[in-house]
Symmetry: C2
Subunit: 353 residues, 2 copies
């Protein structure tokens, strides 16, 4: 069911992303073109609850010989092939401005959400999802006591480079502020200085009023397809209150977050009737040495970047033009939001049973 | 055949990308981890030279009913599903700083390299590749007379969103300077102001001396895995002389470019013995209204972004950490350059025959 949009929305135009100080090309009419390109394999349907060879399952042995406990909730361990280690030497620099390098230190952790391999967040009980949120908060608190940045992220689905169906995320803490949060920090700081209000607090208020990009909302949270979305069904999950970091959330806000995550992810699964792939992650105020600074320009938020465009097997390719010139999208954020908003909140798999 | 690298190269570190003012995380030791994730379908091996249903072949009818001429060299036509059209209305803007939009106008062209569907650039004769370069120059000259940016790019292979095996590229001209060239313009301008020399001219000189990142070179051109490469086997193709735009290349430089492109792409194919997928594109000084400005900080260059990491079917996923925090690579640029440099210049398919 397509609906009417004013001409300025279906004709190509540019939209400004105030969190990245960049533009996205919106070419809604491109959805009309036929697709004869690559199709993805739909995700495996029959995942065993317990697989004796899966290194993420309770009681199994991992690559380094360690044995997982028989965990019955979340379980955190050190990544066996970490991109960041605590003890890397300083590479030095030959000082030429075109050959600059810097030391990078950190830790990489993996966090299982649940003991079962065949469950996903929308099917977990709210208190189980609260346990995941509590553990995220604990990791940001602990690692953030020394590291300036703690990146929580989840790659879900083989199409997003996830090599294990067991529900899990990763937490990489680093001795440096990475590019994306550094950019977001600068943008939020500039906005705050200019307008006297945190960027994302103002944005959430505006979106709650405008309504056209809202997907789901609750008393403490709001999920929208942002005005500047680049991925077809990208969403931004925002608290309504001014919150700097995930560990600042109250028990009530965490419970409400668990509920809205389940609702959002159920809609995602319902969109193409498939366990929806995405990469997601949290951005909050920097930590470590930044804990002593004024970070009132920051607002906690989660980004969901799902790759699918047309169906369970046809994704959006961010390739030539996007890599070399500018990101381009094929439907408007309002069209995406409306589609998601109108989907049922009951999971298509529950209806099947 | 692995070779010895000093510890600072195999331990994680950050490297600065002076063309994008950002950093990349280099974690060479990550190549040791096993891969149980998604594998790509290898590209189709038996492509017919002429397919009556392929809209890019000579003499065939396209989506809009137009009939292709019986072309015997390059062939350029308007994209039947363009992301940019010349007549889009101005969307206006409600002026709120968080909801900014701008008009976007332009044209999208498709350019076939050759009448045959079963040929690729490394197998084309040098004079045939020169014809491609001449046509690129002509398009930049023509479209650049009014448009500020003309983006030439090629998506090669299904894994890079290319939906047609016929050898072709695209040319999108826009009424605006897109994000990537705008950033590159700023970086090159700053460097020039600070150091009195174009960034990439200085860089090419340094790399030609250092040699460790050089893949192929000729009297007029140099191809290196840049010090700040993000994709595993990314390369940067640079003229040795100061050249602003592709249409400024002399006949001799074009012939030399055709030859070095064939050599580089042959090495790419030889790496995993597969028709190597990539997105590539040209960046030169802006055009249209910018033709009247001083653009001496610019140096023409081509970026090649190939996705494969381990084999013909295992690519690098730029997902969670890369999307939310920072790009991360699993082998050093020096390791990648050495691997490419040591590959034969004879195509593996010619050896088979
Ligand atoms: O124009 P094509 O080849 O149909 O489409 C391809 O290249 C475009 C430009 O990079 C991308 O926006 C599309 O996602 C991709 O599938
Ligand atoms: O750490 P994993 O899950 O093995 O690996 C996955 O996520 C990483 C972080 O986004 C990426 O660098 C890898 O390319 C991807 O395959």
């Amino acid at each position: 069911t397509e609906c009417f949009y004013p001409a300025e929305h279906t004709h190509q135009h540019l939209r400004y992303n105030p969190l990245r100080d960049s533009w996205v090309l919106v070419s809604a009419h491109r959805m009309k073109r036929p697709w004869a390109g690559q199709v993805e394999k739909p995700p495996e349907e029959h995942i065993p609850r317990f697989d004796p060879r899966n290194p993420l399952c309770p009681g199994n042995t991992r690559a380094n010989g360690e044995i997982n406990p028989n965990y019955d909730s979340t379980f955190v361990f050190e990544n066996d092939f970490p991109a960041l280690q605590p003890d890397a030497p300083d590479p030095g620099s030959d000082q030429h401005p075109l050959f600059q390098s810097k030391a990078a230190r950190g830790v990489c952790k993996v966090m299982c959400f649940h003991p079962w391999s065949d469950i996903t967040l929308p099917f977990m009980k709210t208190p189980e999802v609260v346990k995941v949120i509590d553990k995220w908060a604990e990791l940001v608190e602990d690692l953030g006591s020394t590291y300036p940045w703690v990146q929580i992220f989840e790659n879900k689905g083989a199409v997003m480079g996830c090599s294990n169906p067991h529900p899990h995320c990763q937490v990489w803490a680093s001795s440096f502020l990475p590019n994306e949060p550094a950019l977001s920090d600068r943008c939020q700081r500039d906005y705050h200085q200019k307008h006297g209000e945190p960027l994302l607090l103002q944005y959430a208020k505006q979106e709650a009023e405008k309504k056209e990009r809202v997907v789901v909302q609750s008393s403490h949270w709001l999920a929208v397809v942002p005005y500047w979305a680049t991925w077809p069904y990208q969403t931004l999950l925002l608290p309504r209150r001014h919150v700097l970091r995930i560990n600042d959330l109250t028990a009530e806000e965490r419970e409400d977050l668990a509920a809205i995550m389940k609702r959002l992810l159920t809609k995602y699964d319902n969109l193409f009737e498939v366990s929806f792939p995405y990469s997601m992650g949290w951005h909050g105020a920097p930590t470590g040495p930044h804990l002593k600074e004024d970070n009132s320009h920051w607002q906690l938020h989660a980004h969901y970047y799902p790759p699918l465009l047309r169906s369970a097997t046809v994704k959006k390719f961010m390739v030539g033009y996007e890599m070399l010139a500018q990101e381009q999208r094929d439907l408007t954020p309002e069209q995406a939001a409306e589609k998601l908003r109108n989907l049922p909140e009951e999971h298509y798999k529950s209806r099947e049973e």
